[in-house]
Each structure stands twice: as structure tokens, then as C-alpha cells.
């Protein structure tokens, strides 16, 4: 009996380079989200001339740079096989630390301390505070062997509680303009938070792709037992991912404070789910070992474009969450289709 030729649907002959590149592209998980973004962009620019203006696009990026930056960190943790639910709280905490450090003192009757430190030092302190939260997360997970979900859920509460408790629920404000500039200013035509995002995304992306520890992170997330038995410094790498995640959430948190000009105890409340969603929509696998920073940033941008679209498309505000949820599902479904294709 001869082999039925019709079985060979995809010929094994050397494919044309174009086809091969095409296949590589369609195999990348980031592709689905790019498709979705293009679709959304097409609809939006069709129905509103406001969408495709540089100022609108930059605004979207500026407004979502913090989520995107936090998503970079969460990507590291998730790729290494963990999870961090405390990012929202960490953002608020870092923001508060920077705010207290930089604030010139308020005008209200009950006052929090304020130190009027130079903006960059305040920025560094905020990021440091985030890294500290990350370090505690890491130690809980690695040294005390608490499940990441529970460890970081606990820290979500503790850190948010700290923010509310330290401030007695008050806001911190009155910052020098050099500080608020970090959130509100421009570098040329580009909003400064976007500059931060681009630089950090490049750094983290290069770290994952080219640094020894980046490869370790993928290996640990791929199979922690094997990584341990291969002699990799598993504990240290895992702690590092949490520390970096905390620090990056810290950067995001400080940038929000600088952008809004105020640190409120409710800041970034519940953002953990959005940050994680950004990463996962962008193709980061929750079971570890897979995903890129590029995808996570795209995921965050998608969420941002969505918020923008709500207003541009005149979606009633009451339906916004349904809309966002729907797009998350849609992105998952497009991803399924893509996987079938390839």
C-alpha cells in the first residue's frame, strides 16, 4: 500500500523564506495581541479622528506606563514560576515613601512628616521601598516556603494596611515641580513616564534574553527540580525576581505619584489583577517558563487603549468593565485561533 499523498498537507520541502518567517511570526504569542491592537486601532481611527493623534497616543502610553512597568516585574516573577499579588499595594507603598520624602509639607491640619529631599533621592527611596517589599515576598516564598499566592496575598494586605495605617488615610501632596515633572513632563515630544517605560522594558528584555540569570529564570520556571539538580542558584534567582518585581512596581508607583501630584492610600487599589492580566494577555504563561517582556508591555498597552476606546467610542461608563472583560476574553480566543493555525 502506498502512503496516501493527501496526508501530507504541509509539504516538507524547504519552504520559501517568506513563508517560514510568516510561520515564525504566527507562532509567537505576542502576535495575537498585535492583531487585536491593530483591529482596535482600525475601528477607533475610523470612528474618531482623535484616536490617531500623537498627543492621544502618547497620553495613552503615559497613563499606562505605570501598569506596564509593573507588568515588567510581574513578568519576571511569573516566568520564574511564581506570582505576585502584592504589586498594587507595593505601588502605593513606594509612591507614599517617595511622596513623604519629597513633599514640601502640606497645608492641612493633621500632617504627615515631609522631608523635602531632592526628587531623585526620593525616587530612589521609593524604588528601594518597593524592592524591600519584593525581598520580603522572596524570602517568604524561598526561605519559608510559603506558596507564592498566599505569601503575596498576605503582603498585599500588610503593605496596603501599612500605607493606610501610616497615613491614617490621609493623602500626601505638595511636591516640587522637578518631581511632578517626572510624571507630567516631556522629553522632546515623549512623556517622561514613557521614556522610563521604554528604557526599563529594554533593560528587562535584554536581561531576560542575554543575561545569564535571565536564562536561569526561564529554566527555573520551566522545571524547578531540574534547575536545582543542574546546580543553578535557584533560591537566589527566585528572590531576585521578587526583588526586581518590587522595585519595578516601585518605579511605577512613584511615577504615578509624580504624575498625579498626590499620594493617596487608595492608589493602585486592585491593580494587581490588571498588571497580571497585562502579562498573561501578552503571552506570559502562568505555569512558568514562558513569556516575554515585549508581550507584557503590549498587554498593558491593550488595556490602556481599551480605556481610551471607551470614551472615544462613547461606550456608556456603566459598561466599561464588561467591555474590558470582554476584550480579555477576546484576546484569549484570538490566541486560541492563532495556536490552531500554527
Amino acid at each position: 500500500m502506498k502512503t496516501d499523498l493527501s496526508l501530507e498537507k504541509t509539504p516538507a520541502q524547504p519552504a520559501a523564506p517568506f513563508a517560514s518567517i510568516f510561520r515564525q511570526i504566527i507562532q509567537r504569542p505576542e502576535t495575537s495581541i498585535v492583531i487585536l491592537l491593530l483591529l482596535l486601532g482600525a475601528v477607533l481611527s475610523q470612528s474618531s479622528s482623535a484616536f490617531l493623534t500623537p498627543s492621544n497616543l502618547f497620553n495613552i502610553l503615559r497613563n499606562n506606563a505605570d501598569i506596564a512597568i509593573a507588568a515588567l516585574g510581574v513578568t519576571l516573577v511569573i516566568v520564574a514560576g511564581g506570582i505576585d499579588l502584592s504589586v498594587g499595594s507595593t505601588m502605593a507603598f513606594s509612591g507614599l515613601v517617595a511622596a513623604i520624602a519629597v513633599s514640601l509639607g502640606g497645608t492641612t491640619a493633621y500632617q504627615l512628616p515631609s522631608f523635602g529631599l531632592p526628587p531623585l533621592i526620593a525616587f530612589a527611596l521609593g524604588v528601594l521601598a518597593g524592592a524591600l517589599v519584593g525581598l520580603i515576598n522572596g524570602l517568604l516564598v524561598v526561605k519559608l516556603k510559603v506558596v507564592p499566592f498566599i505569601a503575596t496575598l498576605g503582603m498585599l494586605g500588610v503593605v496596603r494596611g501599612l500605607v493606610v495605617g501610616l497615613t491614617s488615610g490621609q493623602t500626601v501632596r505638595n511636591f516640587p515641580v522637578e518631581f511632578t515633572n517626572l510624571g507630567q513632563g516631556f522629553l522632546g515630544p515623549v512623556p517622561i513616564p514613557v521614556v522610563f517605560l521604554v528604557v526599563l522594558a529594554l533593560l528587562v528584555g535584554l536581561f531576560l534574553a542575554y543575561h545569564v540569570w535571565g536564562t536561569y529564570i526561564y529554566a527555573i520556571g520551566g522545571n524547578e527540580t531540574s534547575a536545582t539538580l543542574t546546580g543553578l542558584p535557584v533560591s537566589r534567582v527566585k528572590i531576585l525576581t521578587y526583588v526586581l518585581c518590587g522595585a519595578l512596581a516601585g518605579v511605577g508607583g512613584v511615577l504615578v505619584v509624580a504624575r498625579l501630584g498626590v499620594s493617596a492610600p487608595t492608589q493602585a487599589l486592585g491593580y494587581e489583577l490588571y498588571v497580571i492580566a497585562a502579562a498573561v494577555i501578552g503571552g506570559v504563561s502562568l505555569s512558568g517558563g514562558r513569556g516575554t517582556v515585549f508581550g507584557a508591555v503590549l498587554g498593558a498597552i491593550l488595556i490602556g487603549v481599551l480605556n481610551n476606546a471607551l470614551v472615544l467610542l462613547r461606550v456608556e461608563s456603566y459598561w466599561q468593565q464588561a467591555f474590558t472583560g470582554g476584550i480579555i476574553l477576546l484576546s484569549a480566543l484570538i490566541d486560541r485561533l492563532r495556536q490552531r493555525r500554527s
Binding site: 492621544n56 497620553n59 504615578v256 498625579l260 481610551n308 470614551v311
Partner: protein, 320 residues
Amino acid sequence: AAPPAAQPQRPQPQQPVSEPQPGTKPLTFVWSPKAVNNPVFDVARRGAQDKAKELGITVEWVGPESADAQKQAELLDAAIARKVDGMGISCNDPDALKPVIDRAMDSGIPVITWDSDSPNSKRITFYSLDNEAAARKGAEIMVDLLKDSQNKTYAILTGVPGAQNLEARIKAFREVADPAGLQWVATDPCNDDIQKGIEVVENRLTANPDLAGYFMAGAWPLFGDINAMPKFQQAAKRGMKTVAWDILESELRLLKQGLVHALIGQKFYGWGYDAVGILYDIVVNKKQYPPFVDTGFDLVTTPEQADVFLKKWETGNWRD
């Protein structure tokens, strides 16, 4: 001694007289509440829509799902990109919304604030009650209600800790109440959640069963069924006095039952109806407004006054 009577101070917002001009594209205003999941803003929305219909303009209701300054700013940025004709904002935070408001004003979109202000921004005017004045008034009533009581302890219920207007109310209340001899016991947050509010009140009354007064800086637990709060009912029956914010239908009924003793009311409907009128005046009639339009506040302490407001809820007619 009877509690002081209600003193409805009602400045008459200037009723715009202009008619919709035929032939031009209808104006679009964006009206932004702090959160769309909060029922008190629903009345404001209806007010805004009623006014919009009268004026032949469009009012879009654009707000964050739940109170979040960052998200509100983001949504308003998109509205600026669309170049709407005006915005009315209840600010989640004065400073956080300032850059957006300034951006809007700089790009020629007039902005007013209502309910919650951003005083340092370029906004044209602020339409609201004076939170601190109203809270002080509430405190005076509480002091008076407890003047014959041996026990002068009271607790405060708040929503999300840190919310600007709530903190202002609490601060003003205590500035009057504490020097007058009332003893503050605790301030409990309920995160603007009805369920949590009920549980917090019940827990508080478990811990302090002899509490003499309760100041609720928002109406959260009173949205629910009073039977969900047996301890609160018991406490009220043995004489605990409650001063609560807002004049909602459910609160009015409680007041009539003698379970709640004073209600401080904001002009929900006016946040929409009157404030849209003001912005229309500014945009179309080029009227000047002072930086603060005090709406005054309503005070309900007697069943008769309660009936007046119940009527408004029933008919939906808030205009007179």
C-alpha cells in the same frame, strides 16, 4: 429639647434662559462622577440628563468604575482628545485631576467641578455644599442630642480611608464635637461597601455596646435593610443617636422610625441639573461665575421634613 430645625439654605442657581440654537451641532458635555458604581451619583446623572433635554444638548456620563483618581484622569484625557465642549467633574483627588483640568482648559474646553473640587486647577467654578460647614452643623446637632446623656462616647463610620471629602467631614465633625465634650471612640472604614458597612457597625456595637452616638460620614449601611443590623436597632431603641450623611429614601424611613436622628443632605440632583445649567451659561451665554457656588445643604431632623423629601424621591421632582 428639640433638635434645631432644618435650615434649607438654597441659593438659586441662575436658570439659563437660552434656547437650543437650531442648525448648529449640539453641544456635548462630559460629566464625570467619582465612580459609576455609587448610587448617589445616579440621581446626579438623571439631573444632568433632564437638563440636557431641556437645553437640547448631549451630556455623556464618563467616570471610573469605582473611585479611582488615576482612572478618572485617564478617561478624561480621552475626552479631551475628542474635543468635547465642556466638562463637569467630581474630582476623586484635587491634585490628581489638576493636570487634566488644566490641559482641558488650555485646549479650550471649559471645566467646572462639582461635589469635589480641585481648587488649584484652572477650573472655572466649583458647585458644592461646604463639606466642613455641613459636618460642623452635624456635630452641633450631635452635641445637642447628647447634652443630657451621661455617656458621651461616639463612633465614626467612613468609606474608603483617605477620600478627600470624607476626611474633611470627619475632621470638621471632630473639631466641633470633641471640644464640646463628646468622646470619640473609633473611626471605622467600610470601603464604600454596604455589606462591609453593616458588618462594621454591628461589630462596633459588639465592642462598644453602650455607644451614645454614631456619625456616619456616608450612608453605606443605611442603604441596607435595617433588620440586617439588630445591634444597631437595639442601640437606637436604648437611646443611641445617629447623625448620617445624605438624604436617601431608606434613611428617611429610618428617621421616621426614630432610628436615625439627623440627615445632612447634598444636592445630588443639582450636581447634574444645576451644574449643567451653569456650564451651559458659561459656554453659551458667556456668564461669569465666582470660583465657588455654595449649594448649601439640606438638613432633616423631623418626620415632617422627612416626608417632604420622601415626596421628592417618589415623584422624581427635585426642582422645587
